[in-house]
Symmetry: C2
Subunit: 348 residues, 2 copies
DNA sequence: GTGAAAGCGCTAACAT
DNA sequence: ATGTTAGCGCTTTCAC
């Protein structure tokens, strides 16, 4: 070959070949410099770096992905991005991942296994590197069968059944006990708990914590109503409680959205919070802190959960030997304005 | 070459070569079949399709991206994903894009130009196909300089200055007028408007609409306070209004979050809504509809905005000749529980 | 209508 | 320490 023709550099992103010819070295040397490979003479490295700077060369992630199989793309599976818990989690995940130049794709599963599968199949083909699973559906098996390398997965928000996969969750059981004991300490005995769907492990753990704390008190009467994490379901359940023969003096929502819904229902009934009835949530979502409500809640440290999940995942992705990480974050009771010492004990 | 060695098919995703050899045709033919190229005999097509089904072959998006420069990845730029407007938009964008097998990456810019740039530079190198810009910062120039092909961009939520780029926005000016006229019709004359940042065009349009409607009434007194779209700023501004010498009988928040914040502030002051003071928002965010508040608001049809933005973008991406689309969605007044006919006109 | 072959931009053996 | 080269899986001329 007498003449290796390359299109001119103008109007085209510079490639590794351009850098190599500019610096007067081979492409492998450039590649080594770019990847910080040690086997490069300092002088050569400097020359290459100069060419890189001159041309403003940046390696193509796509070409890299083709050859390495790694795309620096992570998926975050959430139940419903319009539930305020998830945006907050997403923000912290995205921020932490960005530090290591990972891109996060948020996948709204609506807690439907079929959606989980659809997303994963598409993204895996696209070369997805890893998954943070924060949705709460019964889709663990689907996920783990699609991503059989468990190093690529971290569960958060929910605790997985599998023992061989990493997770970061908050201490749901302990948090619920703490909150319930606080309400019991305030004099409440009839306490209503608005639960989440039975398939959501984080919700059932909270319910269990509530029950455990209540059963330790001889004259405590636990009430439980069904909810589905939504504001609407919280309102409905609160109405049910108050329409019952034996209405509670305090209500706990399994998450903040439900508690906010309950708050609305109570307002509609002209019940004042906390004077007439105490109310508490679970999550520590930002909106619950505003003066609108000032909701007492269990802070599950969402930001930390997201950050930690990313750190674990990225570490796993880059280490051959893998031991599943199991992090349980202490949850913290945030006492705000919707709870108070019981003023008008109901006699029975 | 006597012997073309390929690793065995087991444990490895099937490639186009596997399909070709299975079907007994060349890779180009397989490629034609996959891309629905017409130049394939029906018989051949069937044979190839059989091999594809047999092997469960799916073309590699990464390899395709390398050769075509297209990744089917879209970015959605938002100001702050924890502001409930954006998750709702994101959901509709994601859903619509998914129909055409596009993946959406949500980028939280915090309305900082530097963040916009950071995201775009990273994603463009990753082969980003297009951008839906829904954040409201002064970053139009940065975006358009980074993505000089305007077919790849759609603005939404905000109206761009550039005349050569597509957008889908709601009729902010008209919606604000409609809302203001409604309040005037209810007898309100002193109306407070809690605005957004001056750089946010959607906010200034709403403010202009408010002013226009107010100035058409001889004895109407517009009050304006600064806000930044956040719940907190809404609460603060409402306090300022009510501490003023001439408090309004109705307050409009430039978005629902601000109105919700104002609602909290008013509750704190033991003012009942709408009996003591009327309150309205803008956006039609879901949370504002719950019984907690039942906020009167201007619905800007978020879902439709997102859907339409995606449709326009995808169409532009696939047509060589490009005429910018300019869609203005009618906004709709949603009268709910926080506004009512003025009961106790203040005399002046 | 079909096939051969040249890349796309990079990494990783392997050779020197 | 550096260069050569064979791919990664696909699309796309260009022959036939």
């Amino acid at each position: 070959v007498l003449c290796v023709v390359r299109k001119p550099t103008v109007g085209r992103a510079p490639t590794i070949i351009d850098v190599a010819s500019t610096a007067g070295v081979s492409v492998s040397t450039v590649s080594r410099v770019v990847r910080n490979h040690p086997d490069v003479r300092e002088e050569t490295r400097r020359a290459v770096q100069e060419a890189i700077d001159l041309l403003n060369y940046r390696p193509s992630p796509i070409a890299r992905a083709l050859v390495s199989g790694q795309t620096r793309m992570l998926a975050l599976l959430v139940s419903d991005i319009t539930n305020p818990f998830y945006p907050q989690l997403a923000k912290s995940v995205e921020k932490e991942a960005g530090k290591d130049n990972y891109t996060v794709v948020i996948c709204n599963t609506d807690d439907r296994t079929a959606e989980t599968r659809r997303y994963l199949e598409r993204l895996l083909r696209q070369g997805l590197d890893g998954v943070i699973h924060a949705a709460v559906a019964r889709d663990e098996a689907v996920l783990l069968s699609l991503v059989d390398d468990h190093r690529r997965v971290v569960f958060t928000n929910r605790r997985p059944k599998s023992k061989s996969v990493s997770f970061v969750v908050s201490d749901n059981h302990g948090g619920a006990m703490q909150l319930t004991n606080y309400l019991l300490g305030q004099g409440h005995r009839i306490i209503g708990f608005i639960s989440g769907p039975a398939f959501a492990r984080n919700a059932t753990e909270r319910l269990d914590g509530f029950r455990a704390a209540m059963s330790a008190h001889s004259n405590a009467q636990p009430l439980v109503a069904d909810g589905d994490f939504s504001v609407r379901s919280g309102a409905q359940a609160a109405h049910e409680f108050m329409d019952g023969a034996n209405p509670p003096t305090a209500i706990i929502g399994v998450n903040d959205s439900i508690a906010l819904g309950a708050f609305g229902a109570l307002s509609e009934r002209n019940l004042r919070v906390p004077d007439d009835i105490a109310l508490a949530g679970f999550d520590g979502v930002q909106v619950s802190s505003y003066s609108l409500v000032g909701l007492t809640t269990v802070d599950q440290r969402i930001d930390e959960m997201g950050r930690e999940a990313v750190r674990i995942l990225i570490r796993q992705l880059n280490t051959p030997d893998f031991v599943p990480a199991r992090h349980v974050l202490d949850s913290r009771l945030l006492i705000r304005k919707t709870t108070a010492r019981l003023r008008n004990p109901i006699s029975h």
